[in-house]
Symmetry: C2
Amino acid sequence: MKRSSAEGAPVTLKTIAAELGVSVTTVARALKDGDRISPETIRQVRETAERLGYVRNLEGAKLRTGKSLVLMALLDFTEEEEIGDSGAVRLLNGFHKTLAGTDFALRAVPALLGEQPFDRLRDVVRGRQADGVIMDLTRPQDERVKYLLEVGFPFVTYGRTELFSEHPWFDIDNEYAAWQGTDALLRDGCRRIALIDGDMRYTYVRQRLRGYLRALREHGIEPDPALQHHALLAADVARAAAGPMLDRGADGFVCLNEVTFLGARAGVRDRIGDDVGRIGFALRSGTRIGKYVATRLHASHVSNVESGRVLATLLLKRIAGADVKECQQLARPTLITTENGVLLHGS
Amino acid sequence: MKRSSAEGAPVTLKTIAAELGVSVTTVARALKDGDRISPETIRQVRETAERLGYVRNLEGAKLRTGKSLVLMALLDFTEEEEIGDSGAVRLLNGFHKTLAGTDFALRAVPALLGEQPFDRLRDVVRGRQADGVIMDLTRPQDERVKYLLEVGFPFVTYGRTELFSEHPWFDIDNEYAAWQGTDALLRDGCRRIALIDGDMRYTYVRQRLRGYLRALREHGIEPDPALQHHALLAADVARAAAGPMLDRGADGFVCLNEVTFLGARAGVRDRIGDDVGRIGFALRSGTRIGKYVATRLHASHVSNVESGRVLATLLLKRIAGADVKECQQLARPTLITTENGVLLHGS
């Protein structure tokens, strides 16, 4: 028996055909759909392909179709070195799970601070570096979206725009999430609720602000601008912001995510030590962090892995030609309340 | 002025040459090293390339050289949905920072549970899907390393093997890290120190066990196997393990990383509530987590981003033909001690 040529020249359809004394067309058909080939030949071809270490070479398909068979994810791989990430690894896991059975490879590129994400995107389109793009940090009038719509390049945004033109997106219902967290703290008796959130240039941050304000007004509370902090998503930034808000009477904090929550809680502890227990916290989470902290915590939960799955699925649908309206999906978070790591509400 | 053809056919050297009425060779030289081209022509060519939206097409270089210009990272993108990641996003950031100025693109692939990483690797080599590989979860007799050495495929492992054959690697001094954490807890007065660590199939876990045992023996303490737990790196697994160890008198915990530490601490709190403050903790960290938790904590710190930078740099060196001994690097962690989020020692 010929040994695997993994260490030599790549095994091609021709190698398998020569080994079995059949035509290359027969081998190709046997490996593909088995059309007009006997079951015995199919078995022989597949066995030989396996034994010789044949790997389907996608280069031919790429040349024929002009496709790169690459999907690109331009993601906010946070620079945060203080604590953890904001879910990018779990999103990537979701992408990979979805693409596992396809010919597409994923290339994840961090949207680094200081870099112009638009330039990067233009290079991807001009250089035909990918067949589709997933991107986050979506803005209301997103230049990237306008550009991709204009050139007809497939994409899905994580987050919505306020553009009149329809485009593919997946989003968490951020207005609802912030409303839900604020409402839960109000029901706990908090009256001076602070908001520690992201950069207002992004759509989701504006949506969150709307939800927060709505919950306050529903409870007859006039919002105080001094209790609203919008900045970069960094634990140390949230920590620095929390103290002054506490001085202004804050008795509850609605935080964007795990990183800002841990930062805010550290900032509160800096001021009042173990009395941190009398301050309420809420956040939007992609993890079960509430089970691991002593604080009482309301988490608006959506799985990051599931979000990644949906984003990749929508992009594949769009590339396959699905209507744009079928490539839009909103996920509503569920409320999970924990206290000292014990589950009180939700699952 | 001709407008950018971003939306039409790709701009090539030929497009620029036609626009300026010069030869393709002149354009190529002007964009490359400017050899034998006047400064004025160089300026004109580069300006025109920029205006027309020229993007260097690497496909030609790939065909000429037979290279994929892809580096693949086969990484433990943990399935952990309980809390956070174990540093993969920060590693990726380090890779990307290093590759930013090169022609190489990075493809990160999660080593998913249940998948045979060896099969994946063989496909990469046979299908010429990458020019080099970075991989973690390194084992003492690592089959992947043996295979890649045999076929002469460039790689760097994150973690060391116990193979006689030299190969490129980057590693954190894990024996030292575990010794350092255990020693710090012993100096705090702990006497029944438990170890909550990873799967013993991996080299770094064995190295950590050695460091832990050495520290105990240096202080004249006989190790108790009932205080050693080796399993998957999951917060809920660590949490379940901590309680029974506490019942056996554990007064300190040496944890592998952020995820296991948060799990172990939650497990201790499950048993003794706020008395968790009398239990000591140590971990190996890639973050500043100690600044955000109320516990006294000894962290053996190495930056994940920096680790990523070194791994990518070593792989590039190896691909460029550097001697294997120049592609090996050990990072020694520094001890950072915090209490209630306040820095006591380290930086």
